[in-house]
């Protein structure tokens, strides 16, 4: 009997302690409703918040910029300095022309040449692995832009907001113009950053280097043509001209 009493008391004490712990445990978060959320949802939410913050910052800058332009315009109108007004608007038009891709640009940068591989196929290897695809070019261009390229051309065609690089079988259409290998990409920007983006171990450039020929050259001066330069006819010219007398061509 004695033994049982002690055991009972101990059990009692133990139960009370457990009960106490349980109560504390349940009570603390008890006031807070909980929801099962995957960490993906949380990181997506967080990413979107960061993005909106950045976008807001940009919009505030643009607001300030536009206000400045309004103030400047009004000032120049009030003081009736039409020459200055014209000049400031001419400068603005020139700025828009430069950022629109309608203007040839020059500066330091890199030249990337991508060509089909000339090695033999390994056993079971697919021919498609050794040729350049539109998606390869697309990813390389994307990497260049991510590294801060300011102006890029592909085989002499300026890449602008409507530029597509599309597969057309044996050729690739750039801005709607057929181009074949080798593909020469010229990009203006910080040469060190651009070449690092092309060659660093995790880059797409390092990945395709195994299967296709991929060459990066840093250049002090690269000239990227304006959009539309020579995009219509580059090889064919009219045989008749205003200057010509039409006698030589029969």
């Amino acid at each position: 009997m004695k033994i049982r009493k002690v055991t009972l008391i101990l059990l009692c004490l133990f139960s009370i302690t457990t009960g106490f712990f349980l109560a504390v445990q349940i009570q603390t978060p008890g006031k807070v409703q909980k929801l099962y959320v995957s960490s993906k949802t949380l990181s997506d939410l967080n990413g979107n918040i960061q993005g909106e913050l950045k976008n807001g910052e940009n919009l505030r800058q643009r607001l300030e910029e536009t206000q400045q332009r309004i103030d400047e315009f009004q000032n120049l109108m009030e003081t009736d300095e039409s020459e200055k007004l014209l000049e400031s608007n001419r400068q603005l038009a020139e700025y828009y022309r430069q950022i629109s891709g309608a203007c040839a640009l020059t500066g330091p940068g890199v030249e990337v040449i991508i060509d089909d591989s000339n090695r033999e196929l390994y056993l079971w290897e697919d021919v498609n692995d050794l040729v350049v695809h539109d998606s390869d070019i697309l990813l390389i261009l994307n990497d260049l832009f991510a590294a801060g390229a300011e102006a890029v051309s592909l085989n002499g065609h300026r890449i602008v907001s409507t530029s597509a690089v599309s597969c057309g079988g044996y050729i690739v259409h750039v801005n709607g113009i057929p181009e074949a290998k080798p593909f020469r990409i010229q990009a203006i920007g910080d040469p060190a950053t651009l070449s690092a983006a092309m060659l660093s171990p995790n880059s797409y450039g390092a990945f395709i280097k195994d299967t296709v020929r991929f060459q990066v050259t840093v250049r002090d001066e690269i000239t990227v043509p304006a959009y539309g330069d020579g995009d219509l006819t580059r090889h064919a010219y009219m045989t008749i001209s205003k200057e010509g007398d039409g006698k030589e061509v029969e």
Binding site: I3, T7, L10, L13, F14, T17, V24, Q25, V32, V37, S38, S39, L42, S43, L45, N46, G47, N48, I49, G51, E52, L53, K54, N55, N58, L59, R62, L63, T66, R69, I70, F73, Q74, M77, L86, A93, E94, Y96, R97, Q98, I99, S100, G101, A102, C103, A104, L105, T106, G107, D134, L138, N142, A146, E150, A151, V152, V160, S161, A164, D190
Partner: protein, 250 residues
Amino acid sequence: MKKYGGTILLGILAIAVGLIISVQINTSQGMESEQGGLVPVSQIRAQETELTKLRNENSQLTQELIVKEELLMKLQDDKAKEDDSLQAILADQEKYKLAAGVVEVKGPGVIITLEDPAADEEIGGSYSELIYRYDLILELVNRLREAGTEAISINGLRVIGTTEISLAGENVNINGTPTSPPYAVKAIGNPDTLESAITIRFGILEQMRSYGIRTDLIKQDELVIPRYSGAITFRYAKPVTEADDEDGEE
């Protein structure tokens, strides 16, 4: 006494285990914001409200910006009525602004929504198909451009010539701004052509669906695509002027 030694020890052990468990639970609750799992509803709601607040704030900023831009345009137009050379300059400005993507545009087109596959508890983590296969989004943009799109935005960010779509941690950076799924891609162009070009069998949308990405496409008679909100400045590129061609100097 010796008889109860074991029981007492067991009691002490039980208390210790209880303490450890409670400490453990409390600790893991502290990390909830990063890792997902059972998260207080209030925390999720707070983040959701913050996102909504930021989005509202940004759309208000966008509205303010449009009002300011309209004011500037009106000022310019009034002045241009009495000044022909200003009128020509302003026409230039408009043309290049449109091409550069620094002005809001509207027109017919399609809206494509992309959502990650339904969360898989087995894989868990913050893995996002859309983010790790960002090249699919890049491909989609390229296909849309091929089909004649004149303006594209992704989650409200205007895609211009130098826009990058690059993986950055758990987000995809577009125009240097972090973005997360779900994605809304808006494209202005011929809605029928755009729809056909991307919903073609074995095309880009079908390819996306094969990865479990949920896609949706609606055609619209009129949709609005915001302006590029970042600052475009050239640090390396300089315009090629005619003087450059002659003596190599500005």
